[in-house]
Symmetry: C2
Subunit: 174 residues, 2 copies
């Protein structure tokens, strides 16, 4: 799942470049946080990443992880995503195809998918309004294949009113 350490050369280069271009400084904390972020192919909150970093260096604080994630986002290495539980998750952005998400509201599983057709149609729709898109977010909530039997009624319509109570935690925990 995780790439070998040596393979993150390009990402680290990008980070360094961003750091320098912005007149910022390379620090041990930032290096460590980047390293662990890159190794973890998952959707992580700042908090999640903080605990992972803690294991390696207990002196690193919440704030630094939080600020470094913002930095990574600026550098184009990370992307912020939200799944409906009011938390900000981060995922790899560099060298990762753009993709969208299906979120199982029963078990919390997150499926990444990509549809060039949908992308193309979004651009088309935008153009109709003279709108120049910079980025977008498509999320589909529902029941994953493992959770079909949990369907509340005999037929579930597409116009359910309430926001789901997504239990994304169960994904993070395995």
């Amino acid at each position: 799942m995780a790439k070998k350490k040596e393979e993150f050369k390009k990402e680290k280069e990008i980070f360094l470049e961003h750091i320098q271009k912005s007149g910022l400084r390379k620090t041990a904390q930032r290096d460590l946080i980047l390293e662990i972020f890159l190794k973890t192919e998952d959707h992580l909150t700042s908090e999640d990443l903080y605990w992972l970093v803690q294991k390696q260096d207990p002196t690193v604080g919440h704030t630094t992880v939080y600020r470094t994630l913002k930095l990574l986002t600026e550098a184009g290495l990370a992307r912020e995503v939200r799944f409906g539980d009011n938390k900000t998750y981060y995922e790899h952005h560099y060298d990762h195809e753009h993709h969208d998400h299906m979120i199982c509201t029963n078990c919390g599983k997150v499926i990444e998918f990509f549809s060039p057709e949908i992308e193309a149609m979004q651009d088309e729709a935008a153009e109709k309004f003279g709108f120049v898109p910079t980025h977008h977010s498509l999320r589909i909530w529902g029941f994953c294949s493992d959770c079909q039997h949990e369907l509340p009624d005999q037929h579930q319509t597409v116009s359910s009113g309430a926001q789901p109570r997504v239990r994304v935690k169960s994904v993070m925990e395995g």
Copy 2:
């Protein structure tokens, strides 16, 4: 823009039905909040609606507006949406076509749009994963036709890293 009072009969009926079915009670506050919500064709936060309600009845509290919006959402009359500024907005749901949003990151304008093709392709994509969708959210951020000249560089790519600082307030305020 707003419908005449008399036309909300159906919505009120639905609300009453939901109230009764759930063993809840009809109150003056709930009636007033529903009334004002229905009259306001806009994306409102609980806070926004609270201030509108205040004008008519200063005794109504934040909490009641908040709880009533949840109730309306359950009843299928309202829908929760988020535009990236960490606030929960509510929009009309009953008798309103499902639609998606384009959000101008410069002026905050929100354009509602609908594409049957995109909808169909989402279902198609879901099916590929054995995923049964209940609902979805598609948001496209970018520059509306009025704000094209604000484009930061000569060419803006679709892979911008950072989340936009959406100034949705400017929409609410006019």
